[in-house]
């Protein structure tokens, strides 16, 4: 009896707009599922289905790496605001990647771009933007991303948020491991953070 009838389904009174191809539900009919799916956005190209994830169209990747290179060049010339702007363009382009393309690729690209933009913000002493971007970067790619962990911790330390900084750097250490160059750098930052927090506590006590 566990056999399921393939033709059994709930009929919804849908309406398709022939020009905009948007699908609407007639007369406030409620869809039974608690999580209602997002409205369908049909692909503009007709009669084509998404290609398999691999191999993929290299055009967008080339565009993104071009933008990143120009942003890196601007950063080297100490034009930090310009670099941040270019990184933002590159990030937008990477975020706009079609959904069916490999997620690992998007993760790698976004991790690098966010981390670099964090550095660009830090050079302008914009710590909040820096820490947000560093968090995004480690969200995209937690492992092998020492720079982002370090930058995030540094930004938090600069703002005097010692506890958060310690937590962030310790999480980074857990992911990256204590051995190796990255681990050493993170440990160094951790030491700085500890010192800073002690100083801050002393200052509070002194008052």
């Amino acid at each position: 009896m566990s056999q399921i009838d393939d033709d059994l389904y709930n009929q919804y009174p849908l309406h398709l707009n022939p020009t905009s191809k948007s699908i609407t539900l007639n007369n406030n009919h409620r869809i039974g599922a608690p999580e209602r799916p997002a409205p369908l956005a049909p692909h503009p190209r007709p009669a084509q289905h998404p290609p398999p994830p691999l191999p993929m169209n290299p055009k967008r990747s080339a565009q993104i790496s071009k933008l990143r290179d120009s942003a890196n060049a601007a950063f080297r010339k100490s034009a930090f605001a310009e670099a941040a702007r270019l990184y933002t363009y590159a990030i937008d382009m990477a975020l706009g990647r079609p959904g069916w393309e490999p997620v690992t690729l998007a993760r790698d690209e976004l991790a690098g771009l966010y981390s670099n933009r964090a550095q660009a913000w830090m050079s302008q002493r914009l710590w909040v933007e820096g820490v947000v971007d560093a968090r995004c970067s480690v969200e995209c790619k937690p492992g092998g991303n020492v720079k982002a962990w370090w930058r995030g911790g540094k930004c938090l330390a600069e703002m005097g948020r010692w506890d958060e900084a310690r937590e962030f750097v310790e999480r980074g250490l857990e992911v990256e491991g204590r051995a190796g160059d990255g681990g050493k750098e993170l440990l160094g930052l951790l030491g700085e953070v500890e010192e800073g927090s002690k100083r801050a506590q002393r200052a509070v006590k002194g008052n």
Binding site: S2, L16, V103, V132, M159
Partner: protein, 263 residues
């Protein structure tokens, strides 16, 4: 003749026995079927699947009331149907993953007797259902474009993961404004603190500068000795300056005052 009567007894016995067994078996099966039929489904209704089928069965005349009969072309374009099919595949992936995660835990609970057999039955039914569903999606995809069935779930998986990633990144970025505001507030607090520290330090040089200036301006007057002494003593008497910058300024003033005194 006698044979028939004596034979009727075992036949009647057999008939009654088989009849009762058959009725019992059919009743039992029916009840079991009813029970499994009334079992609650494991998942809530599959909305993307329902939407897909609703679109498939959309009546062309109701779909385009203005078009009428001259528009015999499919009322729902292929692209929309494909998008709906992809949504369906995404939901399927979510469900299959959920089943895979739940299976070992549920099996263990069942072994220990923590959960009833009903739950296991429901789970098995859901598993079977999903198997059929995945097969159906692959068949549908192959019907749209030969070979798409092999990649549709790959695509759907990437779409799902990409959507999750975007959502997470957006959540982080959404915190930016809030963090910015709190940091501005905090920074203002720091600046005020610094101002408050700097204020007394800034005042002192003025105090000590006045006698120093007086001492410098009136070196010829006989009161110069008495005027310069308070000037040199002011920093010590007013306590240690709290900030380094203040003390440096005081030192400078001291030196000036001393110069003035020497004159």
């Amino acid at each position: 003749m006698v044979n028939w009567i004596t034979l009727a007894v075992p036949f009647a016995y057999l008939g009654v026995l088989l009849g009762s067994l058959a009725t019992f078996s059919s009743l039992y099966r029916k009840r079991k079927a009813m029970k499994s039929f009334t079992l609650e489904p494991w998942f809530p209704p599959h909305a993307p699947r329902d939407i897909y089928f609703s679109l498939m069965h959309l009546d062309p005349t109701t779909a385009s009331p203005s078009g009428g009969k001259d528009k015999k072309a499919p009322a729902v374009p292929d692209s929309v149907l494909k998008a709906a099919l992809l949504r369906r595949a995404i939901e399927d992936i979510k469900r299959v993953m959920a089943l895979r995660v739940q299976k070992p835990a549920l099996a263990m609970l069942l072994q220990r007797g923590s959960v009833g057999d009903d739950l296991w039955q429901r789970f098995l039914r859901a598993e079977k259902e999903m198997e059929d569903e995945v097969k159906d999606v692959v068949a549908e995809a192959n019907a749209y474009a030969p070979g798409w069935g092999q990649t549709i779930f790959q695509s759907a998986n990437e779409m799902l993961n990409n959507a999750i990633l975007r959502e997470r990144v957006e959540k982080q970025q959404a915190k930016l404004q809030e963090e910015k505001q709190s940091w501005e507030k905090k920074k203002d607090g720091y600046l005020k603190e610094l101002d408050a520290e700097a204020a007394p330090a800034a005042k002192k040089p003025e105090d000590s500068a006045a006698p120093a200036a007086a001492a410098a301006a009136a070196p010829v007057t006989p009161t110069s000795e008495s005027a310069s002494t308070p000037a040199t003593k002011t920093p010590e008497s007013s306590g240690a300056p709290p900030s380094v910058a203040g003390s440096e300024e005081d030192d400078a003033v001291l030196v000036e005052a001393e110069k003035g005194a020497k004159k």
